[in-house]
Amino acid sequence: MRLRPARPTPPALVAERGRTLREADEGGAALAVRGLTVSYGESPAVFDVDATFPAGSMTAIVGPNGAGKSTFLKAALGIVARVSGEVSVFGRPLEASRGRVAYVPQRASVDWDFPVRVIDVVEMGLWRGLGLLGRLTGAKRAKARDALARVGMEGFAERQIGRLSGGQQQRVFLARALAQGADLYVLDEPFAGVDAATERAVVSVLKDLQAEGRTVIAVHHDLSTVRDYFGRVLLLNVRRIAEGPLDEAFTPETLQETYGGRLEAAGLGALAAG
């Protein structure tokens, strides 16, 4: 897909909807998005979304299937083209902050029969900045080993990635992001189809990252664990429904609005009241 710089939205239009991009940046946002619309064909998957993720926060992006959660993140990181909207990362344009962002795609998005070993995947997190001719030095390789140890996978370094369980594969992806040494971690469904031990390990790593002052954003589909894992939510269903700390944004009303009839059907209405 070809990326095309989005035209800046007229300032007046932005201001009408609350804080402008610049105000968000000055308020210490790790990621700020204004007026983001993404479309596959001619029906928007994400429409006119504003969102602000403060530095050092841990935010869940929540919404029903097909609500555009993954698409929102991919567009914010320039992985898919946006029709309109502006993005800033740590107060600067995305391109200028690339080195501070680590992205963990959905596990199902790659071919696990690919000829790479676990350690090779983690080292991919170090390739940016090497240039075309650079070599991985011993210090950098040690960084990859450390990242692998941090997710409890050091014993699997030499294994081909197809011979891992789903949870182990997810940890390898997380280790690659850790090797990037970023300040903003963006994860797409990190808990989808993983075992309980992996879920605990991933959450603990993410909480450590937050304790170090880094920012975490994750697409999350299990409403029952939002309160345990995250401090903030962005409720999304093509449009932004609600955004903010759990007390304000994660309420029965906002969930009802996000999920509609599906919430009752799943018997999840009581969850948000917590």
Binding site: R2, R98, P115, M124
Partner: protein, 403 residues
């Protein structure tokens, strides 16, 4: 003829043959390396469309050069024409896939056949020209090294070396795009541009290889080496090196054979050599080969039969399956009449005890260890001796003694 092939192989068949062999080896290395990326990106067929799209360019370049007063046989001129029309074909596939609702395979089919058809028409036109009869443009279809000029070989060798260098330089971003395009884009790699560079590289290899391998079979030299290399490694960097090596050997040996038998189309010979190397991997690779898979399946079936047989013995049932009988008899666990021997009774009791231990453990635990029960895994590989002793204590007096 064998002598000739051998001397060509050992670079003793004269300066010209030596350069052709070197050029073919370099071409094979470049094709294997560049092909590795389209193999990993699963876009092998696009390269076929690109290859067929060279034909009208070759023909047009010939016509233009003759119209300008030359004899039309300058290799550089013909290759420039090939590159031009191949690039058009590549853009056509790209645009058709991106801008219309046509799927990529339909776009490839359309571009491949239309360009090739146009090329064939132009070749026929050339046949009617006076300069055309000796042009020898048909050799671009299947490749020929006979009568190749020294400067042609130099052009091919230099072009192939340039392609190999480009592969070495771009290996990391291209690996990233092939494995995980989303992640690649998130680190700032322009995926669309890298895909185009990948196809540009394929196009360059195709154009350089037109004279030796020909446009119909070049796709095989791009795809067969990486497919063969995949049997021998689980690492991308090694896949690149092995694919380049297999391509180089194929080019070298193929050119040598072709030097000894000039009537055979060189491209076909090179591709057959590559295929032989592929076949070797397919059969013999310990991790992914066919023979290894057959052996693994057989060993697994034997383990299942042995275990089920032992459990049947423990229950006092007769064993009816011939394979199970044969396995247990061979190990001396049952007699010829099917009655368990002393050793057989002991093994059967052990199997039954293990089953009981597994059942007791799975009744109390729901973790990764418990999930490893599959009827075959020995419990000793999962639990420590003290944990097993603890289980046995729980099983208590009900623990089965020898059957």
């Amino acid at each position: 003829m064998l002598d000739q092939a051998l001397s060509a192989l050992l670079l003793q068949a004269g300066w010209n043959a030596t350069l052709v062999a070197l050029g073919a080896a370099l071409l094979g290395a470049a094709a294997g390396g560049a092909g590795a990326f389209i193999f990993l990106r699963k876009r092998a067929l696009v390269s076929d469309a690109v290859a067929h799209a060279t034909l009208p360019g070759v023909a047009l370049a010939f016509i233009v050069m003759v119209a300008l007063g030359g004899d039309g046989r300058s290799l550089v001129g013909l290759l420039a024409g090939a590159a031009g029309s191949a690039w058009l074909g590549l853009l056509a596939v790209d645009r058709l896939t991106r801008r219309t609702r046509l799927s990529e395979d339909a776009a490839i089919g359309a571009v491949l056949s239309v360009f090739f058809g146009a090329g064939v028409v132009l070749l026929t036109v050339i046949q009617t020209m006076t300069a055309g009869r000796q042009a020898g443009l048909e050799s671009f279809l299947l490749g020929a090294t006979a009568g190749m000029l020294l400067e042609d070989a130099v052009v091919i060798a230099l072009g192939a070396a340039a392609c190999a260098l480009a592969v070495a330089l771009l290996r990391r971003p291209m690996t990233l795009v092939a494995f995980d395009p989303g992640f690649a884009a998130s680190t700032g790699v322009n995926v669309a541009r890298m895909d185009l560079a990948m196809m540009g590289l394929v196009m360059a290899v195709t154009v350089v290889g037109l004279k030796i391998v020909g446009l119909i079979l070049i796709v095989a030299l791009l795809i067969v080496p990486p497919a063969a290399a995949r049997f021998w490694t689980e690492r991308t960097d090694r896949l690149l090196v092995i694919a380049a090596g297999i391509g180089a050997v194929s080019g070298w040996v193929g050119a040598a054979i072709s030097a000894a038998a000039p009537d055979l189309p060189t491209g076909a010979v090179i591709v057959l050599v590559a295929f032989a190397l592929f076949l070797a991997g397919l059969l013999l690779s310990p991790a992914r080969g066919v023979l290894a898979a057959v052996l693994r399946r057989r060993r697994f079936a034997h383990r299942v039969h042995r275990r089920q047989g032992l459990l049947a013995l423990a229950r006092g049932e007769a064993i009816l399956e011939p394979l199970t009988q044969r396995l247990l008899r061979r190990e001396g666990l049952i007699r010829a009449d099917g009655v368990p021997t002393e050793a057989g009774r002991a093994e059967a009791a052990k199997a039954r005890l293990d089953e009981a231990r597994w059942a007791a453990m799975r009744a109390r635990r729901d973790d990764a260890e418990a999930a490893r029960y599959d009827g075959l895994t020995p419990i000793e590989t999962v639990l420590a001796p003290d944990e097993i002793a603890e289980l046995d204590r729980r099983l208590g007096p009900r623990a089965p003694e020898g059957a």
